[in-house]
Symmetry: D2
Subunit: 355 residues, 4 copies
C-alpha cells in the first residue's frame, strides 16, 4: 500500500503513520520530496486492512497496490484449476458448453430445451427453477417443482446440471439435487448467500455483478473459497454501461484479465449480455477466441412462448450453427470441447491443481 | 406499451400481435406507415408483462411507456406519504436528520457517536450491527451484540433507531429490536430479503442500488409494498460512474424525479456518496435544497480509530456546523426539522396518507 | 508518482527505474518488501511525464499521486479567482445568473428571451449562434447573423453576453463581438480550439465534457491557461451515466471537488443536465446550496416553438419563481447575487486574485 | 416516432399534436386507452426532427423508433461497402491489418515500426503526426515533419497509410499526403472537422467516441457521408466504463450491432481499448471472431523509449504470434487477409457497392 501525505502534513503526521504500521507488523518506507511525501507500506495486506489510515491527520490518499484476495489468487496457485461438474471438466485445457432453458416452465419445455442443448454439444445443462425477477408481478419460477423437473431430465440425458439459488434458506434443498449452484448477477455481493453456497460443498458458478469491478468479482469468489470450497467458476455476463443497443456490454477483456489474476476458470454468458438472439453466435465466437473456458447459453424450443428472456434464446436452427461454430473456433484456439470423462473426476481437481 | 415492427414484417405478423394482446384483455391500435408499422397497446401493464412480444416474428422492439409499479406509484396515491419511525415523521412536510456511527464497534463508541448525533439535531439514530463487507477478512460487525448496544443507547437517548439487515434469517431478530430496518445498496435486488423485511411490519429504509436505475429502485419498493407494508423510505446514496474523485456520484436529480413518480419519502445519504468528510456538509445543503425529506449521516467520536468508513464520518466540530446548516437551509426551503411528535404516531400515517 | 514493481522484478529492473528517474532530475525512494517493491518518485511531475515507465521491464503499474495541472491549481493560487465578464463578476463571493435562449432563432425570440432573463435577475446573457448538433439534418444555428442579433440585444439591455464557438476558424469573429466565449461539452478536448480560444483574450466558459473526469476538465482549463489566459470559468453540466430518466446526471459533488483543486470559479448548468423544465428549479437550488458560483439557464418565450432543446427552457411563469428561489437560497448560502459593478472591472481580476 | 401523452392530457392537446404532424406532411395514429393515450407518427423522420413535440402541452415523452441516419444506413444500401485505401480493401469479405507506431517520433523509429508492421502481415500503415494530448505539457507530435516521414516510409514499403487529423485547418495538408484520414475518439463530435474531412475526398477512419452510443457514432459517419464521401470505416476502440483494470472496455458487440445498422466496414483497435500489451493478442482474436473487418494495432521497436502509449505497443516477438493468430482465426472465420489488389481500385468501390 502507498500512503500519500498532504503537502501540509507535519513530521509528526508522518511518524504517526509509521508507528501505526509498525504496530500491526508492517514496515513503512518514506519518500520525502519538496512538495510531497509518499509512504510505501510493505507487509501482508490483511495487516493493514483494518487500519483507518485514510482518517489519519495529514493523509491525502491511501492507494492499494496489491490484490486483496489470497485463496483464489494466481500467486497462491500458479497452476490454473479445473472444476469438475459431475464428470465434466471446466478449465483451461478444455472448452465447456453449458446450455438449457433460461427458466424451467414445464416438464415438456425443459426436456425439449435440454435435448436441444445436448444435440448442440453441451455437456452440462442449465435451467432456472428459482428466478430473481425485478417485478413482483413477473413469473418467479417453479421452485422445488422446477428443481425436480431438472433433476429428472438430467438423469434421463445423463448430464449434470447447474441451477441458480437466490436465498440462503434454499441452499440445502438445491444442493441436494443440483450438480452445481449458480449465484446470479444480482446476488454477487449477497455475502451470506456466498458463504452458504460455499459450505454446501458443490461447485459454484459465480456470475459477475452487472456493475462489479473485476476485483470485486474475484473478491466474491474469495468469500466462497474462504469456506474451504475452491470449486468456483467465474462467469462474465455483461456489465451496465450507457450504451442502450445491447442489454449489457459484454466485457471480453475481463476474461484474460481475470485469468491473469486468479487460477479459477472463467466462462462467458453470451445470451444475457447481448440480450438478442442475433448476438449469441458472434459473442460465442468472441468468447472462444478471447480464451474463455466455456459459455453458458439459453435455448428454448419455442421462444415466442417463453415466460422469461425469450428474445435471446437460441432455437433449433441456430443450434446446428452453434455446434459448428464451437468446433471451428475451439480448433483455431487449440482447445478441446469438454465431454464427460469417466474416472477422471475422483480427486483429480484437488490433486492436479492444488497440491 | 408500443410494439415496433420491422420494415419486413408481414400483415400476418401484425395480426399475431393484435390477437395475442386481445387474448390477455388489452387493445391494440395500429399505426401503419410506408416504412414502418407501430402498434400501440392499451390496457393494464401487468396484462402484457408475461407476453413474450419481443420474440414474436417481425417484432423489432417493444417499448414500455408506462411505469411497472402500482402500490407505491404517485398515480395510486397522489398525496405524499409520511412514514413514522417511532414517533418521528419522515415525509414531505418535514426534514429529518438520521445520524449515528457507520458501524457499532463498542458500547462507548456507539454512545458517544449517538450523543453527538442528538446534539446535532438528529431525531433518529443509525448504526450498523451487521455489515456487508466486500472482503471476508474485514470487520463484519458485532451482530446481535451490536443490536443490543444500539437498543440500549436508543432507550437512553429516547430516540428510535434504524439498522441494516443483510440476510432473511436475521430479519426477525433485527425487527424485534430496531424501529426501522435498512436494506443496503448491495441488497436492493435481494428479492427474498425485500419480502421478509416487508412482512416484518416495521418501516423500511431502502437504499438505491449503486447501479440501479430510479425505476428499478422504485420497483424494489414495490416488492416490499406488495407484502402489505407501505412504510418505505427511499434513500439515494450515490451511483457508480466513471468519475474516480468521489466514492460514488450523488444523483441529486433522483430526488425530484422519484418524488414525481412515487408517494414515498426520499432521503439522501451524503456520507457514503461522497466518501469524504469535506463533502458531507455541501452535499447536505444540496440535499435540503433539492427537496430531500431527510439525510442520514455517519458520525464518529474518533474516526481515525473507525473500523469502517472512517474517512467520511463527521467529528464533533463538524456537528455544530451541521446543525446550523440544516436550520439555515430548511428555513430557505420552507421545511420544519422533524422532531418526535407525541400522540401523532398512532395510526397517523395510515389515516392521513392512505385512506 | 509511485512505481509498483512485479513480484518477479529483478534488482536490475529496480536500478533501471532509479537511474531513469535520476537522469531527468528526480529522486527515487525504494520500499522493498518480501512480496513487493514500491518506488516513490519525488520531484516535478512534468519531469516524469515523458518517461515511459509503464513499459520498463518488471514494472507492474505506475500511479500518479499528484495533479498534472499547475497554472489553474489552487496550490499555485490559493486565493480563488474572480473572472469579469464585462463589468459582471463570477467568483466565490457572489452568485451569478447567466440566462437566455438556447439557440438564437430570430431577433424577436432573442429579444423576448433576453428580457425574460433580465427580469429574472440575470446579469449575463447567453445564446447560441453556432450550434453543435448531432444530426446534419438539424438546425445548425444562424451563425454570424445570430451573433449580430445577440450583440444588438446585449447593447439594448446593457448586459454582456456569452456564446459558444465550435471551431477554431470562428474564434476571431466570435471574440470580436462576444464578451465571453463558451467551449461546449463536445469540444472540451478539442485542443486546437482550446488554444485559439485562450489566445483570443476573452473570458472563457468551459463546459465539462459529458464523460470527462474532473481532472480531465481542469486539465482542459490548463490548456487555455497555458496560452496566458487565466479567465476561465468551469461549468458542470451533467455527466453520462446509465440512468435514463434524466438527460445527464448532474454531478453536484464536482463543484466542491473542483473548488478544492483549482482557483477558478465553478458554475452549474441545470437546464442541460436534467433536460426537463421541472428539474431546473430544484437543481438551481442544489447548485446554490452546494456552493456553485453561478448557474446558466435556458429561457424561451414559447418553448413549444423552440428549434432546439425546448423541453428544458423556463417560461415566463417560472422566472418569477426562479428569481425568488435565487434570492432565498443565496441568502442561506451567504452569497450576494452578482450585479454589474461600475469601476471594479479595470484590472480588478488581475490585481485581487493573482498578484 | 411515438408520442406518449400524460394521463391528464386533454382532447385538445391530442389534436394539437395531430395537426402539427399533419402540417409537416406526416400521419398520426391515436391509440387511446383508459389511462394513457399514445400517438404513432408515420412518415419521414426528418420531417419531425424540428417539431418540438416534447414541449407541447400534455406530452409526457417522445420516443424515436427509427434510426436518424440515411446515407450510411443498411436500409439504403443493403449490400455492405468495401472502402479502398490505396489498393487495399477494407470490407466484409476480407480482414485487413493496419499497423504502425502510435506516434511518429523519428525517421528511424517510424521505419523500424513500419517494417515490423509489414512483416506481421499488415497491408496499411498507421502513425500519428498530430497527436491530441490531454496535457499541454506532453509530446504533441512532429506535425508536418512527421507527415513527411510517414509519406517516405509509405513509399519505401509500398503501403498506403492512415494518419490522424485533429483540426479543420490541417485537413488539406494531411489529405495531400495521407491515403486515409483518421478522426480520433475525442473528435468524433467535432462536426466542423467531420465536414472538412468528408470534403477532402479521401477515405476516413472514424473512431468511436469513448462515450458515444453506437447511434451517435453512426450519426457522425452520416455527417461525413452528407458531404458526398461514403468512404468511411468505423473503428470501435473501447468505451469508458467504471471498470479500472483496462484503459477502456472494448465493446465487441458493437461490431455486429453496427454491421446490422450500416453498410460501412467496422474494425477494432485492440491496442488503445485494453491499454496493455498482454491484451492485444486476445482482443485481436476476439475481433476476428466477432466479425470485425480489420484491426489497427500499435507497434514500436523499443516501447520503453516510446513518447506515447508505450505500454500497449507490440514488440518484435509479439508480431510473429500476431501473424499466426490472424491466419488461424481468419481461417476459422472464413475470411481472407486483405492484400493490395492491383487494378481493383479504380472505381471498384463505387461500382460494386453503391450502384
Amino acid at each position: 500500500m502507498v500512503v500519500v501525505m498532504r503537502g501540509s502534513a507535519s513530521d509528526e503526521d508522518v511518524t504517526k503513520v509509521i508507528n501505526a504500521v509498525g504496530e500491526v507488523g508492517g514496515e513503512a518506507f518514506v519518500s520525502r520530496g519538496k512538495h510531497q511525501t509518499i509512504i510505501g507500506l510493505v507487509g501482508d495486506l490483511t495487516q493493514f486492512a483494518e487500519l483507518p489510515l485514510h482518517a489519519f491527520p495529514g493523509v491525502e490518499d491511501v492507494i492499494r497496490v496489491s490484490k486483496p484476495y489470497k485463496l483464489v489468487s494466481i500467486e497462491t496457485h500458479p497452476r490454473p484449476s479445473t472444476v469438475w461438474v459431475g464428470d465434466v471438466p471446466i478449465g483451461r485445457d478444455t472448452f465447456t458448453l453449458l446450455a438449457g432453458p433460461c427458466a424451467v416452465e414445464s416438464e415438456d419445455q425443459t426436456r425439449a430445451a435440454c435435448r436441444m442443448a445436448k444435440d448442440a454439444g453441451a455437456s452440462i445443462l442449465r435451467g432456472g427453477a428459482y428466478k430473481p425477477r425485478t417485478s413482483p408481478y413477473a413469473f418467479q419460477g417453479l421452485g422445488e417443482q422446477g428443481l425436480d423437473i431438472l433433476a429428472d431430465v438430467s438423469r434421463e440425458l445423463e448430464m449434470p446440471f447447474v441451477t441458480e439459488v437466490v436465498t440462503p434458506a434454499d441452499v440445502e434443498t438445491v444442493a441436494a439435487k443440483a450438480d452445481m449452484l449458480q449465484v446470479g448477477t444480482r446476488n454477487m455481493q449477497n455475502f451470506q448467500l456466498l458463504k452458504e453456497v460455499g459450505l454446501a460443498g458443490k461447485p459454484v458458478l459465480l456470475k459477475r455483478g452487472m456493475t462489479a469491478t473485476i476485483d470485486e468479482w474475484i473478491m466474491a469468489a474469495e468469500y466462497i473459497a474462504h469456506t474451504g470450497n475452491l470449486q468456483v467458476v467465474l462467469c462474465e455476463r455483461g456489465i451496465r454501461t450507457y450504451e442502450p443497443s445491447t442489454r449489457n456490454t459484454l466485457d471480453v477483456s475481463a476474461v484474460p484479465v481475470a485469468q491473469s489474476l486468479t487460477h479459477l476458470p472463467v466462462i462467458i454468458d453470451p445470451s444475457h449480455s447481448g440480450g438478442k438472439r442475433d448476438l449469441v453466435l458472434p459473442l460465442t465466437k468472441a468468447a472462444i477466441a478471447v480464451g474463455a473456458d466455456g459459455v453458458i447459453i439459453d435455448v428454448h424450443p419455442r421462444p415466442e412462448l417463453a415466460l422469461c428472456d425469450g428474445p435471446q434464446a437460441l432455437v433449433t436452427d441456430d443450434l446446428i450453427k452453434l455446434r459448428e461454430v464451437i468446433l471451428r473456433f475451439t480448433d483455431a484456439a487449440d482447445r478441446e470441447v469438454a465431454t464427460p470423462t469417466a474416472g477422471k473426476q475422483a480427486g483429480a481437481w484437488g490433486r492436479s491443481a492444488h497440491v
